[in-house]
Symmetry: C2
Subunit: 326 residues, 2 copies
């Protein structure tokens, strides 16, 4: 059976370039792409099958470090990752860090000691100096030097939300999210781009007086009471974008208690688009993070590590799903 | 350092009896208990410390098989189990079975092959014949022969709900839950006792015309539409107990859409009492399953297996938490 090396040799390119074409990630010149696609065809090269054969009978363990698996989006991401990795013979070990760096380091040490084969890292701690960059580590939504990351298109999500609210005739906008580059200032998070994409798009359309609400980062159970005080002075707002569907739910309640009708008087867009919200009150209009697509990217990167194919960071597209709130 | 065997020898009893006293589980005669407590004191026996010393530096892996970790209660149980086991040196491997027996068997085989050290099993499949009873298996909420289980006091929860609704003056009652002993008739589940405890208590108080609604088991995302058709003919009901908080949320919406005020016209009690519900609409009055207490029982049983102390099944008490719906 043909290997990725055979494909690279026949096409006269490097393995990394073949990988970019196979995974449809990163720029490859059209001419080169065609050469590689011809080589893949001529050699009947089947990348997924190879990956499967390499791993299906193994019990490779991937540790997934995240703050809290009961956070609705993290929980759905964990579910998708476990489902996807299982198909390729990987088992997922769960680490709820509760933001404690000591607990995160236990799993990073297990990676060093080969007890786990790879780590998926979702952290707000500055673990940069503890990461052995020669080992298979994939970051989610956070940037560490020389560690590939996967994130959904947070900036694009902000753009989508802004354009949608503008199209619905909103005039006075608010963003509400966590202080993503404040408290944890050493960790570059992709999440803050939701705010940036939203505000920049509004400004491009001539809207400048945008209310920007920040609550402390890392409070994964943000209560209605916490937010109420922060937004109660902004009765004239008619277009709101929030950092999660959970916060959006609270915002809907708070504004309805102020006597506003959602979506007639004020429109609210959330973020995440999780299935867990199907049953609870008004269905939130939301920017969907596709946890299955994210899980596939993570799996591809883990398989790449195994095959010694260089990884590049991946941005997964988002979509807007129409609910009852905007 | 004294061992549990030393304690048993000094007290003139068996190891299992010492274990019952240490874990405060199961009946032990007062006289025997006092002998054991004296031996524990005389030998300065510290059971938790021993367990810790035995396991803290290890990387023992416990596989947790459950249908779907995005189910709110299962997700919280997973979180509590991971937190509790980590303190004792155990790492949790997650298996979202999606009810597929093939996937469950992969992890049960890993137990046979010593890749994992214990399995926590939450299943609706009849895996009885696949279980090697000589290995460390703990069932949650389901009964298999010669496999110890942990469950919350489902019957007691039904009693609590019935008494609460009676005390609030309700006259016409409904239970809504899954058909827990219908479709999966080979698996004895503890969950069906919620219904039994509720109905038996009402009958003891002279209420006999109780509406009993069943939807198919295993639909972990029960939509409002599914339930609406089942309950729409019961406008005169004024006291409802449901099998989960998620279903309770839907019921509240359905009855409010029928023009009923919750809790003034109709009172609704859910089950689970999860933190995840803090933010969404009316806070559900609920029977709380204490996931931390359940996790401690599971951890004790896993440590017992390691120490070759016989395990007995454990029922964890429930409480009622007052919300906005009853």
């Amino acid at each position: 059976m043909a290997t990725i090396k055979d494909v690279a040799k026949l096409a006269g390119v490097g393995i990394a370039t073949v990988s970019r074409v196979i995974n449809n990630s990163g720029y490859v010149k059209t001419e080169t792409r065609e050469k590689i696609e011809k080589a893949v065809k001529d050699l009947s090269f089947k990348p997924n099958e190879i990956a499967r054969n390499m791993t299906l009978q193994k019990n490779d363990i991937v540790a997934f470090i995240l703050p809290n698996s009961t956070h609705l989006f993290f929980g759905e991401l964990l579910y998708s990752v476990e489902e996807e990795l299982f198909k390729y013979g990987y088992k997922v070990m769960l680490c709820n860090s509760s933001e404690k760096i000591e607990k995160e380091l236990v799993y990073l040490n297990m990676l060093r000691n080969k007890i786990v084969d790879a780590v998926i890292l979702l952290t707000n701690n500055d673990v940069e100096s503890y990461l052995d960059k020669s080992l298979p580590i994939i970051s989610f939504d956070r940037r560490f030097t020389n560690v590939p990351f996967v994130a959904s298109d947070n900036y694009g999500g902000g753009v989508l939300a802004a354009n949608y609210l503008i199209s619905k005739g909103c005039k006075k906008f608010m963003f509400i999210g966590d202080d993503a580059q404040g408290i944890h200032s050493h960790v570059m998070t992709e999440v803050s781009k939701r705010r940036v994409g939203f505000i920049e798009t509004l400004e491009q359309h001539g809207f400048h007086d945008i209310i920007n609400i920040e609550y402390p980062l890392g409070d994964y159970v943000v209560t209605k009471e916490m937010i109420k005080d922060l937004v109660k002075d902004y009765r004239d707002v008619d277009g709101i974008f929030t950092v999660s569907d959970a916060v959006a739910h609270s915002i809907v309640q708070i504004y309805e208690e102020m006597g506003k009708n959602v979506p007639n008087n004020v429109k609210v867009i959330g973020y995440d688009g999780g299935r867990s919200f199907l049953n609870f009150g008004k269905k939130i209009t939301s920017i969907n993070q596709d946890t299955n697509a994210i899980a596939i990217k993570i799996r591809q990167m883990i398989v790449n590590y195994r095959m010694q194919i260089p990884n590049v960071s991946q941005i997964v597209p988002v979509t807007i799903s129409k609910g009852d709130t905007a």
